[in-house]
Amino acid sequence: MTTSTPMGFGRMHRKEDARFIRGRGQYVDDVQLPGMLHGAILRSPHAHARILSVDTSAAEALPGVKAVITGETLAGLGLAWMPTLSKDVQAVLATDKVRFQGQEVAFVVAEDRYIARDALELIEVDYEPLPSVIDARTALAEAAPVIRDDLDGKKDNHIFDWEAGDRAHTEAIFERAEVRVSQDMLYPRVHPAPLETCGALADFDKVTGKLTVWCPTQAPHAHRTLYAMVAGLPEHKIRVISPDIGGGFGGKVGIYPGYVCAIVGSIVTGKPVKWMEDRSENLMSTAFARDYHMTGEIAATQDGRVQAIRVKVLADHGAFNGTAQPTKFPAGFFHVFSGSYDIETAHCEVTGVYSNKAPGGVAYACSFRITEAVYLVERLMDVLAYELGMDPAELRMKNLLRADQFPYTSPTGWEYDSGDYPRTLALAMEMAGYDKLRAEQAERRANGDRRLMGIGLSFFTEAVGAGPRKHMDILGLGMADGAELRVHPTGKAVLRVSCQSQGQGHETTFAQIVAEELGISPDDVDVVHGDTDQTPFGLGTYGSRSTPVSGAAAAMVTRKVRDRAKLVASAMLEVAPDDLEWTKGRWSVKGDPKHGATIQEIALASHGAVELPEGVEGHLDATCVYNPPNLTYPFGAYICVVDVDPDTGQVDVRRFIAVDDCGVRINPMIVEGQIHGGLADGIGMALMQLMAFDEDGNHLGASFMDYLLPTAVECPSWELGETVTPSPHHPIGAKGVGESATVGSPAAVVNAVLDALKPYGIRHADMPLTPSNVWRAIQGRPIRTDLAIT
């Protein structure tokens, strides 16, 4: 499948695999420090309740318990509340009330994890249960209990109203459109559920005043800065080490109360304190995703030319507004919802509300809510096709942006960089044998075949690589990334980057970027990441930003080194720099290619005694900060084929064809792996991942027995294709791919199932399309998937 190491881009085995296949990765729970203690968190059983008292005396008396920390303890230190990434505050340990089931109430530090867990049983908390807001659609009702009475003067559960696009123009188009179709749809609350849960190991050294935190964070530098801001510790005395991470998918971006508790625990006890959440804690309290109640409307001509889209969203943000997204965009990048189509105008309104559920909102490979946007527009396109009696592929082809329209400014203000959408869709249809599939479907329907066949399409445009610092920041931190490259005297290199891999293979691809630009083997490049004392500042890995931002930084810093090498070479070769030309790995004299120096020779000379030109410092090191001029816009066309048993409601995914265009591919093997993973996410979200709440706010998907993730059996063998449209503004033309498939695939699966159900006159049903939901949809009574099934 792979070949020998390429001198740059191309398929190569991953450098990180050598340790992982031997069980020698080092994840946070693998780190053991001398004298280390263990923490455990007591959580609220109620969705909404006043705390009357907390009695920790029995827990404190248990042998082996070293400390019990409560909200009151933290309040004394000014740490009971912490800022969220959306400029709200979140309780670290509850003081006044608990606001969701699973909220953190007390933290025990003990000699081992078993004793810590035992001690939780001994803490007595007296709660006064309060009425709760579970159904987001009731959050703004006058009678709704006010969740955030901790906020001055807060009398309701409203967080924000936000809009984008041209309201007047959109209304005018809708006014006179030949066809108007409206559809309510829910993108339910889901959880990224990486296989490794969250955790932290904090070690505060009282003598040096240095705090070291091992934590599987996707954004180690942002964590360091926030800890400095929250805890008032000097930032240079904080070191965040993000070791190997067992998957992140956006769930490991934020700072969770457990991390702060581990830090406080270490400060209080003077020992290293490790806290690892269990799976229920992970599903109940850390970053969920989506939870968008959407009403989409599409206006079109009778012959299927789409003219406008408008959408109203009720966004359930949970008990604290903790979404992680650039400050200016409270609904993330949702307003890219006009998708891949040539649409005259569009408008959206988003209202965010509090509910008695866990905080979060942006996680799970969503590219800052582009999953919601793509799902909306791709469902609307199918709804329109249904109403017009048109083939959904034909409708899409008719409305896709054409290659000559790029760069394209969308109705909500995005500037798409490059693309040739019809080519990509055509390739997907060819790979699928689209016409043949439709013929098979028609034949089966004509024969009255009980087993229903469905074909679903989705075409997505992503907007990733956040982002230009004039538009984008998180809590005031600009979204530029640093990189630092050192070429040692023997020509071997070390690249230090600010982003952090959670499995994406950065140690390989980033070495390949340096290799490509410097003409050395990727084997000769080590990539250092995940340690804030060892790497330059940057905002981390999420929103598919590693390659678009840090990858660009890596290319640019290597070019800086190459330029320096040119000056050194000119001294070595005693020619003017302008007389030199670069061939991969070597500067040589123009017209005299034999007269030159390899990068290894130049590296040695740069550290040696060669007399250097005026102003050239020597050595081959450089740093750079890359501030992206624009986002990048990967895109793709997906086709899913399903078989549905209408008598049981079971769905089998027969085939899945994915053609992705992510611009230049650094390591196609890794790109394909990223896509595979995202496609499985689509199967999971569309068909099984269910996080509902009963009327008391009990979380009904709080373990892997109830929150079902797809296995190898539900996934088909993925069929991948590619087109390559380089990004014109990215140094190596790459667009990023980490989240593309997660963004694009759910709509294809849902569209396929609903296509299968078309003979029953069903236009829409909400995810997840579990057997019971499909069967009930056929009965005309689809299930409300955010609430308990009754």
């Binding site: 990224p192 067992g246 595979h676 499985a680 996934c715």
Partner: protein, 159 residues
């Protein structure tokens, strides 16, 4: 109580509490952190090890139940400096990304191949159906196991 467990051909005698889970015995007592854990309910399979050559979920077994038995963990797959074909297959076919499910997947794959040296795609998918991977969409895990099946007799293939 005192137990003796042979792990990767090495006997270990330890005094343990009856409630100590096997996964914690391996990780915390023996320092064999290649065995991971990912859930509490035996659904994810990150903790799979072999007991007497059969894969089991070590988060759902007490260390005392392994007394007198042979345990193989990911650290024991490599023999005399030679990687198991399954380990090579995972590297060759990009069968891992974050690496968290990988040890458990490889131990089940080893067992599958020991009992069925030439499994087809659906047999491989069924064998690993009690183990979750959140990164690979399983495609390359299946290919990795197939690769191992095809290269079992040629251990010199470079990784």
């Amino acid at each position: 109580m005192q137990i003796t467990v042979t792990v990767n051909d090495q006997p270990y005698t330890r005094e343990v509490e009856p409630r100590l889970l096997l996964v914690h015995f391996l990780r915390d007592e023996l320092g064999l952190t290649g065995t991971h854990w990912g859930c509490d309910t035996s659904n994810c399979g990150a903790c799979v090890v072999q007991i007497d050559a059969v894969p089991v979920k070590s988060c759902t077994m007490l260390a005392v139940m392994a007394d007198g038995h042979h345990v193989t963990t990911v650290e024991g797959l490599e023999k005399n400096g030679e990687l198991d074909p399954v380990q090579k297959g995972f590297t060759e076919c990009h069968g891992l990304q974050c690496g968290f499910c990988t040890p458990g997947m490889m131990l089940t794959a080893r067992w599958l191949l020991d009992n069925n040296p030439d499994p087809d795609e659906s047999e491989i998918r069924e064998a690993i159906s009690g183990q979750l991977c959140r990164c690979t969409g399983y495609e390359n895990i299946v290919r990795s196991v197939r690769w191992a099946a095809e290269h079992t007799c040629t251990p010199e293939v470079s990784a």
